[in-house]
């Protein structure tokens, strides 16, 4: 069982750490660098993102599996991923509204739209498809990416709070020092591996 699970574990850890969306690709950092907010909101953001991206990844994978060789799909594969995201977002919105979770978590429509149609969600779908692997591996990569993003945002948020109460030169206060902090964290993650990225 362990030998069957180890390729999946490798994919999960790769998505979580070495190909982390924030530190390796700078995707998803800006939302929290500028907006800030409470720590407690970040896991909600992660769960929302996962619930929107997972069905979208599965639909996009199915579309690629069925239409991959069609010349029209090759030209418009990005649009197919986007359409999968739109359908998934619609389904999640209906579910959140009927289950009352949107009111319980106090998630506004604007936040939901940003999560659903931001760079982050589309990046997770496209990167998962880039693996050119089976459904289970693709979904595992998407799960690892989402968790990696959530953990990275928690780290950035904690770091920003500490920087706000530290003595920093006036020119570096605010956004510049946050960017430097992000760059150094990203360098530390890169130092673990040092490998070329799939683009």
């Amino acid at each position: 069982m362990l030998s069957a699970a180890s390729p999946l574990l490798y994919i999960f850890v790769t998505a979580l750490v070495t190909e982390n969306l924030v530190f390796a690709r700078a995707i998803g950092a800006a939302d929290f660098l500028q907006r800030g907010g409470r720590h407690s909101r970040i896991p909600h953001y992660g769960v929302l993102l996962f619930s929107i991206c997972l069905p979208a990844v599965m639909m996009a994978w199915a579309a690629r599996h069925m239409l991959g060789d069609h010349p029209l799909y090759r030209d418009f594969r990005w649009l197919a991923a986007m359409l999968a995201l739109v359908v998934s977002f619609g389904a999640v919105k209906l579910l959140l509204t009927f289950a009352g979770i949107q009111n319980k978590w106090q998630v506004g429509d604007d936040v939901l739209l940003t999560v659903g149609f931001g760079t982050t969600s589309l990046a997770i779908v496209l990167l998962s498809l880039l693996l050119n692997a089976g459904l289970l591996q693709t979904v595992t990569f998407a799960a690892g990416s989402t968790l990696g993003l959530t953990v990275a945002i928690l780290l950035i948020h904690s770091g920003r709070e500490r920087l706000e109460i530290s003595q920093v030169r006036k020119s570096f206060q605010g956004f510049p020092i946050s960017l430097l902090y992000l760059g150094i964290l990203s360098m530390a993650i890169y130092g673990l591996t040092g490998h070329p990225l799939l683009t």
Partner: protein
């Protein structure tokens, strides 16, 4: 206490705030991934600016045109789908060189949902067409300025070239600058530099104006 020169300086800064002081990339963190990661050469920076600008202008235009008849829940999916179509058509017919396509990778389709374009759509939602187009243009130009500056610096320091032409003014090549972490660091130092420059100019103008006034007063007393 005189602040005439300082007032003139602040007025001038206000006119150019959309590209300098309130630059959406450096001051608000919009479209950060597009300015930090794929900008490893000036060519890539220019192409990225073109793609981000296309999506931004398109979103501003369509958002303004649909301001009276679409709710946000319907409008935004429509905007992102049409923006993606736009990016696909532009990238297909631009005949990009392979080196640039490899450098940009998934940032090409991601340009259709970049945060700058979403911001342009939000700002243009209540504006008429000319104002919306101007908003889109301002945001696109400010991104282009940032992305091209960062990419030029990184290409010069990492490859000792500019637009593929040799620019060997110094012996060291720092190829590590093409890594994403150094994109953050270059942008961070750039943002701090311009913030510090603005403060230094304001301080110098204020001191020169008030030193002249103080000297005149001392001279008249004597």
């Amino acid at each position: 206490m005189k602040t005439k020169k300082l007032g003139k300086h602040k007025k001038m800064l206000k006119r150019t705030s959309w590209v300098l002081k309130s630059n959406p990339v450096v001051a608000m963190g919009l479209a950060l991934p597009f300015a930090v990661v794929p900008t490893v050469s000036l060519r890539a920076g220019v192409v990225m600016s073109l793609l981000v600008g296309t999506a931004t202008l398109w979103m501003a235009l369509i958002s303004s045109l649909t301001r009276n008849w679409a709710k946000p829940m319907v409008k935004l999916p429509l905007l992102v789908i049409t923006s993606m179509l736009c990016i696909i058509l532009v990238s297909k017919y631009m005949n990009l060189p392979q080196s640039v396509t490899d450098a940009l990778g998934i940032y090409i389709p991601l340009a259709s949902v970049n945060s700058l374009a979403l911001e342009a759509a939000a700002r243009s939602g209540q504006k008429k067409l000319p104002a919306a187009v101007w908003t889109g243009l301002k945001l696109s130009l400010s991104f282009a300025l940032t992305a091209c500056s960062v990419s030029a610096v990184r290409e010069i320091l990492a490859y000792k070239t500019i637009w593929g032409v040799s620019f060997a003014l110094y012996p060291i090549k720092i190829t590590g600058l093409t890594l994403p972490c150094f994109g953050f660091i270059v942008l961070g130092f750039g943002a701090a530099f311009f913030k510090g420059l603005d403060r230094w100019i304001a301080k110098t103008l204020y001191q020169s104006e008030n030193r002249t006034t103080a000297l005149k007063e001392v001279g008249s007393d004597a």
